[in-house]
């Protein structure tokens, strides 16, 4: 069997009367670029939050490297090597770009309670921060306050911050959300680079189909809280059910059916 890094078994999550995620099982193999897609309200973000630990599932379990992590809090998962990005840009707005990245770099180190040394004298973290800023093309912006970055820059900073802690598994929540289309290829390149560089495993929720089709090695399609289909990009593109979920009966049209 393939090397499974993350596994979800029978995940279910309800909010009040609403079933957001209904009996979802999912395996993520090491080294894959696995996208989760589906129309709005399909339960992607909820599933994502279950994987990252922000929500506890109503039932079901999550395994990471074979260990049950269902009830581990968010910060403990980070220590196991799971990094996540947010759909809404979620950076420390009033800190500098460098400080944002360095916070991420030092997070898993042992120096967080060294209260009497200047943070910038810890060369290893600073170097790591510059490294990830370099990788994401933000090196020149290092000294700016993060909130003056353009939107695309903030999304890149998000990526840099996840990278800085060298996670094995990256969970990206709509990395291109709200980005202008001309910036998207840039971001794809960065994501590609990240994967090649560190043999990382990436799980991504994304709406931009060109991004998904371009870089995914595996795709899971969700619909109404359940997994509708899974496969590589070619299989998914060819899948009629998936098409109808996304576009309704559009592809039936040439056959003359009408409402």
């Amino acid at each position: 069997m393939a090397d499974i890094l993350l596994e979800a078994r029978g995940l279910r999550k309800t909010f009040g009367g609403l079933v957001a995620v209904d009996d979802v099982s999912l395996t993520i193999e090491r080294g894959t670029m696995h996208s989760i897609i589906g129309p709005n309200g399909a339960g992607k973000t909820t599933l994502f939050n279950l994987l990252t630990g922000r929500y506890r599932p109503t039932s079901g379990k999550v395994f990471y490297k074979g260990n049950d992590i269902t009830s581990l809090p968010v910060h403990r998962r980070a220590h196991l090597g799971i990094g996540r990005s947010f759909q809404i840009t979620n950076i420390f707005a009033n800190l500098s770009v460098l400080e944002n990245a360095r916070l991420a770099a030092q997070a898993l180190g042992k120096d967080n309670f060294r209260i009497l040394r200047r943070a910038d004298s810890f060369d290893a973290y600073t170097a790591r921060a510059y490294e990830v800023l370099e990788l994401t093309g933000l090196r020149d912006a290092a000294s700016l306050p993060a909130n003056v970055l353009p939107h695309g820059g903030k999304r890149k900073l998000e990526l840099a911050m996840i990278l800085a802690s060298s996670p094995d598994l990256l969970l990206l929540d709509e990395p291109t959300a709200g980005m202008a289309s001309e910036q998207v290829p840039d971001l794809i390149t960065i994501i590609d680079r990240i994967r090649d560089l560190g043999k990382k495993t990436i799980v991504m929720v994304e709406h931009n189909m060109s991004v998904v089709m371009n870089i995914s090695t595996r795709i899971t399609v969700m619909h109404q809280g359940r997994v509708l289909a899974e496969g590589d990009p070619a299989q998914i593109t060819a899948n009629k059910t998936v098409q109808s979920v996304y576009l309704g009966e559009l592809y039936d049209l040439p056959k003359g059916e009408d409402a």
């Binding site: 009040g16 009367g17 709005n40 309200g41 109404q224 576009l247 309704g248 409402a259």
Partner: protein, 234 residues
Amino acid sequence: MSSILEVQDIHTFIGQFHILEGVTVSVPQGGITVLLGRNGAGKTTTLRSIMGLRPPSSGSILFDGKPIHGKTTYAIAQLGIGYVPEHRAIFRELTVRENLQLAERKRGDLARKTEFIFDLFPDLQRLIDLPGGNLSGGQQQMLAMARALVPDNRLLLIDEPSEGLAPVIIDQLIVAIQRLAGTVSVLLVEQNFRVARKLAQDYVIIEEGHSPMRGTMHDLVSDPALIQRYLGVA
């Protein structure tokens, strides 16, 4: 045909993000116009801008020929615009009846409309004294629609009514909205193309804060290349 709603080149910021960079939409009297486009394109923001929840920084919004941009949300609603937001925004602690009562703009609105509403959404009758939070997703959507019908609204802004609903329920909703056609005008946001196609006569495509394409639904349906370009899977 005259338009009940004319949105002209509005620009809207959220914080420092320029979300709408010139959106133009019109809804003909008694017609249904659908906003199509990918997630994050600015469809919901367009509705919220019209409603005054995210006031546009420039551009104009005319309702019945009179400008409504710059007015407060409640004043806009009182002109006869009903809003059915994404995720329904049902008051979970209030009963179905109270949810409907809240929407009254004049005393007696609800009494006058009860029959009409129950006829449209028969389920609600049975649920009338249940807290909104106990309703299923589909029932909540019905309630959200019903709430917008309690006062005599002439325009409904409906955001993603089919989201997260089972096909059977969606069909019920389609029937309900179709029955409203003629008496009220609708500006709809819908990702489900099947639903959009069944309901709307006109479409506007929203992409990255712009509205690059508009036309009749009939023309859109006969142009797969266009669909592919703006809405396609790959």
